[in-house]
């Protein structure tokens, strides 16, 4: 079997891997941002909830998160009379991954926000900005830049975690590899998985490169 054929077959699963990655990261960021916002409102009940959420996710294998989403969500929805059994599998994959990564992103955003120098906010107020603009112009961009290394690590972790959606029968790169290796009845299995690993590595290297470029652009912003 030719290496090129293996690559082409595995790449067939790339769109699924990428859509899962992008959508999960998007929703995880939404969850993370809103949880961080709730946490920082200093409402004790809300911050306790956020703490419990983070505590649970910290101890949950991503695989289990996906399984609970896949098997648990239909049961939850059935309670209120909605049948989601034949919703697309990617939906459950996105839910499982974004719930997991949302907790980590929440922590990244919150700790970054808290480490922005308070004087920056006061300076913004002192030149007459209102609270909203002080946040949008000064606090938020600085929070984002501080959180960037953590965001990068989390995104890379998410790339790797997308491989776990095989448990719900999604056809991503990883599933393509297992299928191919089963079809070949034990020949070239090592080669297939090495090529698969290289493909994931390539995606991760690309992400690292993008973040490096971004970082270089802002290299003089020392926060």
């Amino acid at each position: 079997m030719k290496v090129s054929k293996v690559i082409v077959t595995l790449l067939n699963g790339l769109p699924e891997t990428l859509s899962l990655l992008v959508a999960s990261f998007f929703f995880a960021s939404l969850i993370g941002l809103s949880m961080a916002w709730l946490y920082l409102r200093k409402n004790p009940i809300l911050s306790d909830l956020a703490k419990i959420y983070l505590g649970i996710v910290r101890g949950t294998p991503p695989l289990l998160m996906l399984l609970l989403s896949y098997f648990g969500l239909p049961k939850l929805f059935a309670l209120v009379g909605i049948n989601i059994n034949d919703w697309a599998k990617i939906f459950f994959g996105i839910v499982g991954l974004s719930v997991g990564w949302g907790a980590y992103l929440e922590e990244a955003f919150r700790s970054a926000y808290l480490s922005v120098d308070k004087g920056q906010y006061e300076a913004a107020l002192s030149v007459g900005m209102d609270v909203k603009h002080a946040f949008l112009q000064i606090l938020m961009p600085q929070t984002f830049l501080i959180a960037l290394p953590n965001i990068e690590n989390l995104l890379i972790g998410l790339v790797k975690a997308t491989s776990l959606v095989y448990v719900m029968g999604m056809v991503d790169m990883y599933s393509k590899a297992t299928d191919l290796s089963n079809q070949n009845q034990g020949v070239y299995q090592l080669e297939i998985f090495i090529i698969l690993a290289l493909l994931y590595w390539l995606i991760v290297l690309l992400i690292e490169w993008l973040f490096r470029m971004f970082h270089r652009y802002y290299r003089y912003v020392e926060i």
Binding site: L67, I156, V204, L205
Partner: protein, 236 residues
């Protein structure tokens, strides 16, 4: 809907295999730590040729899913041993158990991650005391062991704790190669009556408790080590 009786009955059965999860994680962490120290030394001392090669391997391991690594070892290790045999090195490839495969894969994975943490912990050590120790005549090696290493360990613990907890969670994948740990047991029990959610919730609770306990243990040990490090530094 949700069979709570079944969930309660299954819980002790799943808990009974938790030692396998913990065993795999601890062995992988220990082997990983030893390898990681080696890697960190090679990279920090910029050992000729070896350093860039090790750097690429670390990047590769950190850039690929653990489940893929596991299968690379699963299919690769026997072939490697056969190749070694051909070169006259006496190895027996027939006796490779799933446990060996898992420990190999997870140790390598841990080694790559821990080595990076060691390096960043090393870079965040305060050097003034090292220089002071050298200037009063301590040998560099002695100063390293007395001054740098304790601080390094204190800096390393939070990251090491995270890596260890990730290891525990990642072992949920070894059921794929036939090892019976928490996740495998949950699958086995539930496949009989298709009551998945019950056993998965059991597994969830067990994982959360295990991770919480280890996180606490690391926290406590960090506090103790920091006290020691600071105490000895004050005496110095």
């Amino acid at each position: 809907m949700f069979d709570s009786n079944f969930a309660i009955q299954s819980f002790p059965k799943i808990l009974a295999v938790a030692p396998m999860t913990i065993y795999l994680s601890i062995i992988a962490a220990i082997i990983g730590l030893v390898l990681a120290i080696l890697i960190a030394v090679i990279r920090e001392r910029k050992v000729f040729v070896l350093s860039p090669i090790v750097g690429i391997i670390v990047s590769f391991i950190r850039g690929t899913p653990i489940i893929v690594q596991m299968y690379v070892v699963y299919y690769g290790l026997p072939q490697l041993l056969i190749a070694l045999q051909r070169w006259g090195i006496n190895t027996d490839s027939s006796g490779i158990s799933a446990i060996i495969v898992a420990i190999t894969a997870y140790s390598l994975n841990a080694a790559a991650n821990i080595s990076e943490s060691i390096r960043s912990a090393y870079h965040s050590v305060d050097y003034k005391q090292y220089e002071a120790a050298i200037s009063v005549g301590m040998t560099p090696l002695r100063a390293m062991i007395r001054i740098i290493v304790p601080q390094l360990i204190a800096n390393l613990i939070p990251n090491f704790s995270n890596i260890f907890i990730d290891l525990i969670k990642d072992t949920a994948l070894v059921y794929n190669i036939g090892i019976v740990e928490i996740m495998a047991k949950a699958n086995i029990i539930s496949s009989v009556g298709f009551k998945y959610i019950e056993t998965y919730l059991d597994a969830l609770i067990i994982y959360i408790i295990i991770c919480w306990i280890f996180a606490k243990l690391f926290q406590i040990s960090e506090v103790i080590i920091r006290q020691r490090v600071f105490a000895t530094q004050r005496i110095n």
